[in-house]
């Protein structure tokens, strides 16, 4: 079984986001970037499946500018076998990314495609579902547990009401929740070894995919600030404020 894992480079989750004064976006210059957190879970799960003997190859792919290759390199350092970097300038919408991934799937013929359930930059939560639509494959979104059984997966999904379990036939798409596993750290020797693993570079425009934007970002602004609150001295004052001032209890 071959697993393709898509990873995205985003602003690190610990960075306090600042909106650009001209309203064109958020500040990314000199800001720490990392792999989108649930994409780390996707890589971890693929590597674990390979280590259990149920997969033969893990291929990491990213779509983005030159520096996005760091995320593929990181995936190689934690156990992916080789990488693919589809180079593109500018920001692509999830629809465009899923069309690019479709082309790569046609070429690589993986049995499974994993990725994070959502990117923490645009918070779209679309790419996995769109890719499975384009391929007409089953989709298991928000996965918190994956059991590989021959040519099937049993996947536990996190839904609002609790947990749902589905069984999907391979080939399939899985989008990963943060609770799926605990991503490992790359050891120094593995980071060194990863430098020798191959990353194939593909120019997006060579794939013959229409990636033109359909959405216009008119402006980006700061969310309204909450007015400053107060500190209360003790519990009695807190209850009194909630009762008489805020009138919520």
């Amino acid at each position: 079984m071959k697993i393709l894992v898509a990873v995205k480079r985003v602003i690190d989750y610990n960075v306090q986001i600042r909106v650009k004064e001209d309203g064109t976006g958020v500040v990314t210059d000199n800001v720490k970037m990392s792999t989108n957190p649930p994409d780390d879970n996707a890589i971890e799960e693929a590597v674990k499946i390979k280590e259990s003997g149920k997969a033969t190859e893990v291929v990491a792919i990213t779509v983005g500018q030159q520096k996005a290759q760091e995320t593929v390199r990181k995936a190689l350092a934690v156990g992916a076998d080789r990488g693919i970097h589809v180079k593109v300038d500018g920001i692509l919408e999830p629809l465009a990314v899923s069309k690019i991934l479709q082309k790569i799937v046609d070429k690589e013929k993986p049995d499974l495609v994993f990725m994070g359930k959502q990117a923490i930059d645009d918070d779209c939560n679309q790419t996995g579902q769109m890719l499975s639509a384009l391929l007409n494959w089953p989709q298991a979104t928000f996965a918190s547990k994956i059991d590989v059984k021959d040519n099937k997966l049993e996947v536990t999904r996190e839904i609002d009401e609790g947990l749902e379990t589905i069984e999907i036939n391979v080939p399939a798409i899985v989008t990963c929740d943060l609770r799926l596993n605990e991503p490992r750290y790359a050891s120094l020797p593995n980071i060194m070894k990863a430098k020798k693993k191959p990353i194939e570079e593909i120019v997006a425009s060579d794939l013959g995919v229409d990636v033109s934007p359909r959405l216009e970002q008119i402006k980006v602004e700061e969310p309204p600030k909450r007015k400053a609150g107060i500190k209360v001295a003790n519990v009695a004052e807190l209850v009194q404020k909630l009762k008489n001032e805020a009138k919520v209890i």
Binding site: Y13, Q16, D123, D177, I218, A236, A246
Partner: protein, 317 residues
């Protein structure tokens, strides 16, 4: 062309966020039609037809719709979409799972999780876990939009009498099989719609200590929430998680106990009307969004809070 609302239900009743999604749909275009796909949905279909905002109901029933599998729902909605300018549903796990699959089939770029309808093609949506708001204009002919339920008021539920049209079912997608659903049953209000939410974080130190939270929640008729740290530590199940990767809640009162206020938690609760934080670390980021902050050891403060609540003659529920 009208707007097509995808109703969410449990085959018996409409699920509450359908009412918020109907409000958002009507702000895009007052001509709202609603499709309900399921099995034995007569009662839920009737409820849908009684929403005054809904002008027409399309009902699709078959056994393979019983478990709301996106792979089965998609072809039906894609076919219906010919007659609509917009497809709308909630941005909860139901809509998040379903809508992108529809959008890809329609070759349209979805606008996810909107919090405001600015015009029929322009929407406001949070990005970066709510740390920025983006105004997005869609240039696609057909628009797929998911709405953040807590940003729109639920619509009226009575007084309407929309005609119900039966639509033929589509084929079953054979590569996805439903196995089971483990719903967490509770007498408490649902976290996403509760008027009061009492949440615990890593500061609770154990699952047992969550009984302090439970007592307060019982007293106030509140839902119980938790930070990701508390869920990851195994203190409480994941369906209680509030935050960027959990549920977004907008209650009248949010009480954060032993929660430091990581960015991703704040994203899920900072729109609450009144926020209370009880934390022994006076520098904790949660205090930056709290209307009332109490810097105290929760193991002393929470039992006192319970005593004070017990002294009150009346409590709004």
């Amino acid at each position: 062309m009208a707007v097509l609302l995808i109703a969410e239900h449990n085959n018996k009743d409409l699920r509450p966020f359908t009412l918020n999604a109907a409000t958002a749909a009507s702000q895009i275009d007052p001509d709202v039609h609603a499709v309900i796909i399921g099995q034995n949905t007569a009662e839920a279909t009737k409820q849908l037809s009684e929403l005054p905002l809904v002008k027409k109901v399309l009902s699709v029933e078959a056994a393979h719709y019983e478990n709301f599998t996106a792979e089965n729902f998609t072809p039906v909605i894609v076919k219906l979409a010919e007659n609509y300018s917009h497809i709308v549903c909630s941005a909860n796990t139901f809509g998040k799972n379903l809508m992108p699959r529809i959008a890809a089939h329609l070759d349209t770029s979805q606008v996810s999780d909107i919090i405001k309808v600015i015009s029929p093609d322009t929407f406001l949506r949070p990005i970066y876990a709510g740390n920025a708001f983006a105004t997005i204009k869609s240039n696609d002919a057909k628009k797929c939009v998911t709405i953040r339920p807590t940003s729109f008021d639920p619509c009226e539920t009575t007084g309407g009498s929309a005609p119900i049209e039966k639509i033929d079912a589509g084929e079953e997608f054979s590569n996805t099989k439903f196995v089971k659903r483990e719903e967490i049953k509770s007498d408490r209000p649902e976290l996403g719609t509760a008027r009061i939410v009492v949440s615990g974080g890593r500061g609770m130190q154990s699952g047992d200590n969550f009984k302090l939270i439970t007592e307060i929640a019982d007293k106030l008729g509140a839902a119980i929430g938790a930070s990701r740290a508390a869920v990851d530590a195994g203190y409480i199940s994941n369906d209680h998680q509030v935050g960027q990767t959990g549920k977004v809640v907008v209650p009248d009162l949010y009480i954060a106990i032993g929660i430091s206020g990581a960015i991703q938690h704040l994203a899920g609760m900072k729109e609450s009307k009144v926020i209370v934080a009880i934390n022994k670390d006076g520098e904790a980021p949660i205090f930056s969004v709290a209307d009332y902050g109490l810097e105290a050891d929760l193991f002393e403060a929470v039992p006192q809070f319970m005593e004070e609540l017990n002294k009150l003659n009346t409590i709004q529920k």
